[in-house]
Symmetry: D2
Subunit: 434 residues, 4 copies
C-alpha cells in the first residue's frame, strides 16, 4: 500500500522483517518441540540454535536471487548463523507452507489486534459526541427527504451500535483466522509427529487446524477479509453521512478545517468533506480485495499456489487501509464541527410537515378510517408544501373543515408537540450501552 | 431464481404468500402488544382483528396497481377482511419498514434454518464416504503435481471439517440476521412505545435492534450474504476437486451417471462432471450477489431505499441457489463413484518420487548438510523422472555412490516404506470429529 | 428476473420459445448449407425439413425429463414433426454448443438492439430537457459544496454526452458479441465442412469465430456484460444526481409524483425519489453479475460448462434489468419537475462566494503574487461565510484595504458579474451535438 | 504495487516524477495557448516560464506538508523556479483537476502503449509456438474429459486469436481514455477560453471532453479498467490451460524449469507450474480493482473526490500488474516445454472412443434413425471404457451384429481414420491470421 494510506505500526506487521521473525520463531519452536516431546535433537544443538539462530532480510534476498525460493533462501541464511551441524535439524519434517501459513495466521491476528483497538478508539470518540449532542434536535431524513425529527445524539448512538457490531465481527474474525499447521507437504504428518504441531501452535497462541493439506484452507482467509470489507462498508456508510451533513444547503456538520489548509486551488472559500470522500473511495478498494480473496477458496487438490500472489497484495493492503480508515474516521468524528443552529434552521424549513404522522394517528383515533385520514393529511401537507408564503402544515390543517369538528384547542396543540420525538432518547442510549 | 435451480421449500420462504403472512402476524402482534402493554385497543376490536385478519395476494396486487405502494395496498386489503372500525388500529404508529425489515429478518432466519439442515445432511454424506475410504491410498497433489500420498478418507475428512466451519458460519449468520425493529419512521419510537417493539420481536424470536433508523442497518444483511458467499465458495472448492478427479487421465472418482443419461449430443461415450461444473458456476453468481449487497450498507441518513431493489433479487436468489447447491453437492458426494484401483495406478505413476522427502530427512540425519542432501535427492529424482524405462527413484538412488556408503539394506527399505503417510489417519479423523 | 423489473419485449428474447426458434433456424440453415454447398441432403428431404420442422416447448421439457439433455430432447421433438427419415440429416456434424453459442450470440444481438433503441430514446428525452433549461442558472457543486454557477442545460448536456458514450459502447458490444460457430465438438470442423459454418453465420448476421473450441470464447461475453455494467453505472450516476437535487434542502428538481400515489404509509407529505433509488440499487445487481461473468473466461481446455449456469442467470437478468432501467430513467427525465426558482434561491445562499475565483484572477492580473492573492480572497471568503448577517463576499471584500487601492468601480462590478459562467453554453451545446 | 510484480518502465509512468512532468507540461502549454490564441501573457514572461519552469518532487512534498494540497504545493514550487512575476500567469483560469485529469489521461495512454506492445510481443511468441506445433496431435477435452483430437497448434491459434481481441480491446481503451479537459472548476470555461483547452489537448494528443464538470466523467475510466480486467481474465484462461497440461497425469507441457531452481523445500523432485498459478492469482486482483473502479462512476454533482483514493491504488496497480502478467505469460509461452510424445500417449488412452461421432454419423447416413444410432454407439463406447484389457472402441464396435451388416472393410477403416480431425488446420490458421 502506498505510504499516503499507511500507518507504521500496521505496515510493520506486513514487512519482511516481521514475517521472517515469525518464521524463525516457528523453526525454533519446532526444534524445541522435537526435543521435548520426541527426544530428537541433542540438547547441545538445540542450545546453539536457540542462541545463534538469526536472519538478515538483505541476505535472504540475495540468496533468493539464486534459489528462486524464499523459504530455502531463508534456511540457508539461518544456517549461516547457526552453523552447518546444528542447522541440519532446522525445518526437518516441515514444508514451506507450515511456516508460511502459520505465520500468516499470526500476522492476521496481530492486525486484528490493532483493528480491534482502532474500533475501540473510534467508539470512544463516537460515545463522547453522542453524549455531547444527546438532545440536540435535527431533522431525520429518509430518501434524502425530511421525515421526522431525531437528535444528533441518536444518530451517533446508531453509529456507536454499528461499530459495536464491527467490534464483534473483528473479534470473531481474529478467532477464525488464528489457525496454524505443521502437518507437512500434504497434511499427513508423515515426517513429523503431530505433537510438534500442537506444541508450536500452542506457543504461537494459534489453534492447530484439525485437518489440513499443504496449507490452511482458504475459506478461513475469506472470512477474515469479509470482516474487513464489511467494516469498511460501515465506515463508508458513516463517511457518506458526514458528507451529506456538510452539503452547503444542509451544513449541519463539517469536517475540521485547519487554518492553513487550502480547499481548492481555484476557489479559496471552499471547505470540502475530503476525509469522508477518501474513506468512501478506500472502502471500494477493500471491497474489490474481498472479491479477489473469495476466489482463492477453490484451490486445486492439496493446494495450488494461486492464492499467494493475491494475498501478498490484498491482505496487507486491506489491513493497512482499514487501520488507516478507522483512525481517519476517529479523527473526523473527534473534531467534527457540529452546528445545532443549522439543524434548527433545517427543521424549521419543513413547515411542520413532520407532524403529519401524529395528526394521522389522532384522526384515526377519532374514528376516521385510515384511508380517509391519510387523504386528509396528505391534502393539507401538499398544500403547505406548495405554499410559498409563511403558512405551514398547521395553518393549512386548521383551515380544513373536519379539524375544528374533531379536535379542541388542547388536542391541536398536542398534535404539534415535538416532545414525542425525543422521549425515547434515554431508552435508546441505554440499549446502545451509552 | 429460475425454476431449474430452485427447490420448493426454500422458494416458498421468499414467495409473496409467506411474506404477507409474516406481515400479518406482525400487525396482529403489534395490536396484541398495544392491548396488553399499553391498554390501547378495546378487547372486542382485538378479538375481531385476531379472528378475521387475512389477506389475498391477488387482491393486494390489484390495489397496489392504484396506490403504487405495497404496504398501503396490504393494509387496505386487510381492512376489507377486518372491517373499517377495528382496522383503524392496525399499523397505528408503525412505518412500512417496521413490517418489511422484521419480516426480512424472519425470512433470513427461516432460510438459514434450511441451509443449516442442508449442511448437516451434507456432512453426514461426507462422513459416510470418509469412513468408507478411510485407508484408501491415493496421491496427494500440490500445484496439480504429485506430492506425497494421502488417503481418500483424509480428503473427505478435510471436506467434513470445512463444512463444519460452514455450519458455524451459517449459525452465526442466523443469529446476526435475527434482528427486527418496530421503531417508526426514523427509529425514535415517536408514535409507539418501545415495549411493543420488544413484545413483537420476542414473539417472532428476533432481537429488537438496540438502535435503528427507519430500517435495520445493512451491515447486518452484508454479514448474512457474506456467509452465503463463502459457503458457496467452499462448495466451489469441492466441486473443483471432484471435477479434477474425474479428468480422463486421473479418473479416481466420477459423478454418478444414470443409465438413460446422455453426456453429449455428439459424443456418446462422454461422462462429464456437469454437476461439479454447475456448482462452480453458481458459486460465482452468489459471489456477484455479495458484491451488490455490500454496496447496500452505505445508505443515506435515516435510510434510502436503494437497497430494496437489490435485496428483492439477491437475497432470495442467493438463499435459493445455496440451498440447491448444497443439496446437489450432497447427492454428488453420496453417489460419487470412487475408483481405488485408479488411485493405485496413479500412485504407481509417480515412480516412487514421493519418497524423496523421507530420503532427504534420512540423509540429513546421517549428517549431510541440508543443501547437499537436497541436491543429491533432486538429482536422482530428476533422473528417475526423465527415465522412460522401468527404473524409478529407488533404482536411481541406489546407483548413487553415497547411498550404499550411508545406508544398510534395512534402512533403505525403510526409506521406501509407505506407512508413515498413513500413520496419522486415526489421529486426524479423531480431530475432525469423525 | 422478477416480473417487477421486466419489460415484455426484452423478456421474450430470453424465453425458451425464442431460444428454440433460433435453434431450429440454425438446424434448418445447416441443412440448407450442406445441401447447397456440399450436395449432402436430398432436395426432397430438405423440402420436408423446411416445411415441417417445428417444436413445442412443452414437449421438449417432457423429453428432457428423461434424457437429462436439452439439445437431445429438442432434436427428438423436431424429429417427431419432421419424421424419422429426413430427421436423420438434422444436427449431423454439429455439437450442442454449435446451437447454443450461436443462439446466445443472436440473443445478445437482439438484446443489444433494444438497449441501443432505449439509449436513443433516453437521449431524445435528455436533449429536450437540455434545450428547455439551456440557460437556467443553478449552482455547480463539487464535494457537495457550492462551487461556481452552471446551467441546468449544461448538466443535461453532460448527461447527453455520457449516454452518447453508452450508445457507442453498446454498439461496440453488439458487434463484439455477434460471433457464432458451427465447428463441432472441439472446434476442428472434423465432421462438417467450415463452409457450412460460414453460410449459417452469414444468414444469422453473425461473424464465424476464426478459431473456436466447443464454444465461443468467453472474453467475448465478458466484453458484452461489461458494456451493460458500465452503462448501468452511468444510470446510477444520474439517478444519484436527481436524488441529490430532490433533497428537501436542495429541491431543485423532483421526480414526477402522480395524484393518487402515496409516498409513505406513515408520512403522507413525503415525496421520495424512489425511481432514482431503485435505479441505483439495480446498477449494483448488474455490477455483481459482471463479477460472476468475468470468472467465466477461464474455462478448462476446449470448454467446461461452468459458465452455463452463470449465463442462464446473469445474461438475461442483466439485459432485462438494463432495458428496464433505461426506460425508467427516460421516464424520470421526461417528466422531471424542475424548479428554477429554487435553483435561484440556492445560488443566492452562496453569498457571492462563487466569484472568488474571478477576484483571485483579477488580483493576480493586477500584479499580486498568486499566494498572496489567494490568502486575501480566502480571508474575505471565510469572513463572509461566517457572517450570519446580510453581508456577503462582495461586502467583505470591499472592506479589505487592498481592494479600493487596486480596483475602480467598473472593475469591481465586473468582478461580480455572473455572465462569464454562462458564456460558453452555446459552445458546449454545439460540442455535445445538441 | 509491490516490487515483486512491477517492471520499471510501467512503474515509472505512475511515479510522482512523471506525473509532475506532465503537470508542468500542461501548465506551460496553457500559457502558450493563452499567449498565442488570446494574447494574454507577455512574450517575455512566457519565455521565462518556458526556460525556467521546473519542479522538485522532494520540495513539492515539503510544501504539501504545510498546504495539505498537492497542486498548490506544486505551483508554489514552480514559482520558486520561475520567479514571482512570471509565475502569476501559471494556472490562471485552471482548476486542479484540469491538471490531474488531463495528466491521468496521458498516463493511461502511456500505459496502454506499453500494454499494446506487450500483447504484440505475446502474440509473436504464441505465433511461433503455434507454427512449431501446427500438426502435433493431442487430445481435445471438454469438461476435462477426452473429446476428440485437435493439434497443439490449433490450441495456440485459439490463444493467438484471443489475444488479437485483447489487442483490439486495449487499442479501443487507449482511444476512449485519451480525453483531457481544461474547463475550470465546474466545466463552464468561466475563466479561460475553451480555445486554450483545445490547444493544450491537441498538443498532448488528447481529445478535449465535449462536456465536462470539474473532471472527466468516470465511465471513461471504468471502460479502461474493464479492458484491463478482461485481458487479465484471458491471461488467467491460458495460465489455467498450461497448469492443466502440466498436471502429472497429463504432462503434455511444462513451464521451463532452470537448473538451479528449487520446486519445493520439502520435495526435491517437484516441478510446479508456479508461473501459471501466479498469473491466475493476479487476474483476481485486477478483477477486484475493476469492481472498485466501477463504483467510481456515480460521483456527486459536478464531482466528488471519492474516486481519487481508489484511482491512486487501482489504476497504477492494475496497469503495473497487467504489464507484468503479459511479460510473464510471454516468457511462459516462449520457453514452454512441449511433450508431443505424452500427447500421443494420452490420445492412446482414449481407446479410440473419440471416433464415436464419426461412427454415429456414418450410421445415420446408412439410414439408422439418430436415436437408435446414438444408443448403439453409446453401448459400444461404454463397453470399451469399462474394458480393462486391450480392446478398445473399434474392437467392441466390430463385435456388434449391426456393424458388419452395414459397413464393408474400407468403410470401417474410414470410421477410424484420424485425418478428418486435422484437415482444417490450414484453414483455421489462415482465418486466425497465422
Amino acid at each position: 500500500m502506498i505510504a499516503r494510506y499507511s500507518r507504521p505500526e500496521m505496515a510493520a506487521i506486513w514487512e519482511e522483517e516481521n514475517k521472517l521473525s515469525i518464521w524463525l520463531k516457528i523453526e525454533i519452536l519446532a526444534c524445541e518441540g522435537r526435543h521435548k516431546l520426541l527426544g530428537e535433537i541433542p540438547a547441545r544443538d538445540l542450545a546453539v540454535i536457540r542462541k545463534r539462530a538469526s536472519f538478515s532480510v538483505k541476505r535472504c534476498r540475495e540468496i533468493e536471487e539464486r534459489t528462486n525460493h524464499d523459504v530455502i533462501a531463508f534456511l540457508e541464511n539461518v544456517a549461516e548463523y547457526v552453523g552447518k551441524i546444528p542447522a541440519r535439524h532446522i525445518h526437518q519434517g516441515l514444508t514451506s507452507s507450515d511456516l508460511l501459513d502459520s505465520t500468516l495466521a499470526v500476522q492476521m491476528r496481530q492486525s486484528a489486534d490493532i483493528l480491534i483497538r482502532d474500533v475501540k478508539d473510534l467508539r470512544q470518540a463516537i460515545a463522547r459526541r453522542a453524549r455531547e449532542f444527546k438532545r440536540t434536535p435535527m431533522m431525520g431524513r429518509s430518501h434524502g427527504v425530511h421525515a421526522e425529527p431525531i437528535t444528533f445524539g441518536l444518530k451517533m448512538a446508531l453509529m456507536y451500535d454499528e461499530f459495536g457490531r464491527a467490534l464483534d465481527r473483528l473479534k470473531t474474525a481474529r478467532e477464525i483466522a488464528s489457525v496454524g499447521k505443521i502437518s507437512g507437504a500434504v497434511g499427513t504428518h508423515a515426517h513429523l509427529d503431530p505433537r510438534v504441531e500442537a506444541y508450536v501452535c500452542r506457543q504461537l497462541d494459534l489453534r492447530a487446524a484439525p485437518v489440513s493439506t499443504q496449507i490452511v484452507q482458504r475459506d478461513i482467509h475469506a472470512d477474515f477479509m469479509s470482516a474487513l470489507a464489511i467494516t469498511a462498508a460501515s465506515i463508508e456508510r458513516w463517511a457518506t453521512e458526514f458528507r451529506h451533513l456538510q452539503r452547503t444547503e444542509v451544513l449541519e456538520a463539517e469536517e475540521y478545517f485547519s487554518a492553513g489548509q487550502k480547499g481548492s486551488s481555484a476557489m479559496p472559500h471552499k471547505r470540502n468533506p475530503i476525509t469522508g470522500e477518501r474513506l468512501c473511495g478506500l472502502a471500494r478498494v477493500i471491497r474489490g480485495n474481498l472479491v479477489a480473496t473469495l476466489e482463492n477458496v477453490a484451490l486445486w487438490h492439496e493446494r495450488d499456489i494461486s492464492h499467494s500472489s493475491v494475498e501478498r497484495v490484498t491482505l496487507p493492503d486491506s489491513c493497512i487501509l482499514l487501520d488507516y480508515m478507522l483512525s481517519l474516521l476517529t479523527r473526523l468524528v473527534d473534531r467534527l464541527k457540529v452546528y445545532p443552529e443549522n439543524m434548527q434552521r433545517n427543521l424549521a424549513r419543513s413547515k411542520g410537515l413532520y407532524h403529519s404522522q401524529q395528526v394521522l394517528l389522532a384522526l384515526t383515533e377519532k374514528g376516521l378510517p385510515r384511508k380517509e385520514a391519510y387523504e386528509l393529511v396528505q391534502q393539507c401537507a401538499m398544500a403547505a408544501w406548495r405554499d410559498t408564503g409563511a403558512d405551514g402544515f398547521k395553518e393549512h390543517l386548521l383551515r380544513h373543515p373536519r379539524i375544528p369538528e374533531l379536535f379542541n384547542q388542547r388536542e391541536i396543540n398536542r398534535l404539534f408537540d415535538d416532545s414525542p420525538h425525543y422521549r425515547c432518547v434515554d431508552y435508546t442510549f441505554k440499549k446502545a450501552g451509552l
